[in-house]
Subunit: 376 residues, 2 copies
């Protein structure tokens, strides 16, 4: 895997780059649609590729491990063959989902024992087996096994947890170095910076993560309920420490505004369920602002959803038709809104990239942040 920086912004820390993987190029900054169980909800693979122009999607190790299970994924030749998505895939480590299980999991130095949310069956994730599972899923980018601390989080807990995450990282690196990809293409490990909202911990963690000299680096434990200022402050701090010649991935972020602000801080990669989850509730992100399509004001609006972002869903269907579908709980409503929101997110990062390349990012970003976050 190779990361080339194509341009850096002179008035911010924004960068444009190209990440080369065994399944093709990723142009950064990039947004990665979330395909939890091997499907980006309500969206066909063909639509992801041709309409949304997604360059990489995310899969969740926890969900894929439980269903369809790694045995079937191995038989299929990996997730790419199982779901037919031919471009790059990133898998998370399962850590985030496991911690969300609350009472149904127990964390020890060895790893995490948890109960399946499906049938209550007992399972163990360790840094080692999570690397093996991600080898079998066959993602192009695999994430280190970490503990994602909640917000708020006491200093002592955050510090101890961070140290364990670092020890786990060493075990992940060792395991990855001792094993081979299963399907003939490279799998790049990304370690994850933790440390909650504590500056000294984030600094320590970023330095430790950088010292591991992996293919890319991620920032975890943000976008878990903390104020946006904290998220930006931590992201800025960590970006200043992580090496500039490697991609930086901010996990689980966020709104269009968050994404633009964090691009300005030096982030290259994002993922979030927001565009698809909110779509299913009738919330549309557009180049003009945020729309609640259930609102009466869109009832008679026969204009396309968003011509600026282009693509099938956003230009073929009208707001009034989409509203009609959403109000009637028609599945097609969720489909159209999901395609549109993802098309918009990918349009947004592509626009950001263009502005970075042209040296006009900072000014554009300041304007765009206001536009995309206003309620229409």
């Amino acid at each position: 895997m190779k990361f080339q920086l194509s341009a850096t912004d002179s008035q911010s820390k924004a960068r444009a780059g190209v990440l080369h993987t065994g399944h093709g190029e990723i142009h950064t900054p990039i947004f990665m649609p979330v395909g939890t169980a091997g499907s980006v909800k309500a969206v066909h693979q063909r639509e992801l590729e041709q309409d949304i122009n997604a360059e990489i999607i995310l899969g969740n190790t926890y969900h894929l491990y439980l269903r369809p299970g790694i045995e079937l994924l191995e038989k299929a030749g990996g997730l790419h063959h199982f779901n037919g998505w031919k471009r790059p895939i990133l898998t998370d480590s399962g850590g985030y989902q496991v911690y969300s299980l609350g009472a149904n999991r127990k964390i020890t130095e060895e790893g995490v024992i948890f109960k399946s949310h499906i049938d209550g069956s007992k399972h163990t994730f360790t840094p080692e087996n999570v690397m093996d599972i991600q080898r079998t899923i066959g993602a192009d980018i695999i994430m280190a096994f970490d503990e994602c601390t909640p917000y708020p989080c006491e200093y002592k807990y955050a510090k101890d947890s961070m140290k364990m995450t670092h020890r786990w990282l060493e075990r992940c690196v060792k395991r990855v170095n001792e094993t081979e990809p299963k399907y003939g293409y490279e799998q790049a490990l990304f370690p994850i910076v933790q440390g909650s909202v504590y500056k000294d911990l984030r600094e320590q963690s970023a330095e430790f993560i950088a010292s591991q000299q992996q293919w890319g680096n991620a920032i975890g434990g943000l976008s878990v309920g903390e104020p946006h200022e904290d998220m930006y402050a931590m992201t800025s701090l960590v970006c200043g420490i992580l090496p500039a010649d490697k991609p930086r991935y901010l996990m689980g972020v966020g709104t269009p505004e968050n994404i633009l602000e964090c691009i300005a801080l030096g982030i290259d990669m994002f993922d979030c369920v927001m565009p698809t989850r909110n779509a299913r509730n009738g919330m549309l992100f557009t180049s003009q602002g945020i729309i609640n399509i259930r609102n009466e004001k869109w009832k008679d609006d026969l204009t396309p959803i968003d011509t600026a972002v282009g693509g099938y869903a956003s230009t073929f269907y009208s707001k009034a038709y989409l509203r009609h579908l959403v109000i009637n709980k028609e599945i097609l409503g969720a489909q159209i809104a999901s395609i549109h929101n993802l098309t918009f997110y990918l349009w947004l990062v592509r626009e950001a990239r263009k502005q970075i390349m042209e040296g006009t990012f900072a000014e554009w970003k300041n304007k765009m942040v206001k536009t995309v976050s206003q309620r229409l």
Copy 2:
């Protein structure tokens, strides 16, 4: 509107034809996907056109009248403009849905008073206003307002109801003759034969309906729970009376087997929610037989859903992946299964047409009926 017979089978009553409408040609025998509220559930308009090769879809007057309402449909310039489907549309008369409301409707000579299933509001459908509503929806084929009798149905009720349906038909014809299409293309009225499972009533009704000399004719009140033999007997009887030079539409039918048998009896047009409704429950109709995709036996089956019928959903995705999606209640599962089932239904009627044109229909049908109705 013009109907040309291209071929008639020598060993059955099967016919192949072409129906010319203001929105293009329909090659018969044809199956019409049901788009209740202006959307064929879980299927994009582009998929209907390009993947499924649907030539005409159906809309339900009752649902469209309640939501989005005829005011908005008129503002949009009709349903074609509202949902973006550019090929022909047929609307039912709303009668069937209204009768399904049970206690929430009252039938009188004037029409039907009913309560909306959405908000309990009170509405009236009469032969006249149902014609007006269908004018506003803008369907290419509009259906007469009839009473669809339940099964079983007492002889006296069936007879009285049929006579009222005939009186209503005269009012429908009068209204259609007195009014003009709203959007510049022809709207063809199809009257509906009733009479439950009583031979003499079906004969009387078919003769009365034929005497009205409309563009095409429909058979209603079947596929409501009666034995298949009754459905076939009534269909055969009625087809013998309805004019051969006009299309015959058997409403609400049916399984692939039903469709093949009724093509052999002289039916040209079909509609049914079965391919989409059953898809959402994981039942797949294929060229090899019927699949319950939730069944354990498909768990590891990495072969395409059905290569014989072709098309994106049926050839791109594997049975194992589709099963995984359906088991996980992923929306994409409903999408893939719906596209596949409709692709199969359209493939089936296209194959039937080819066999009729080549003079090999009867033999092919007898084999195919066994294949498509077996459980895999």
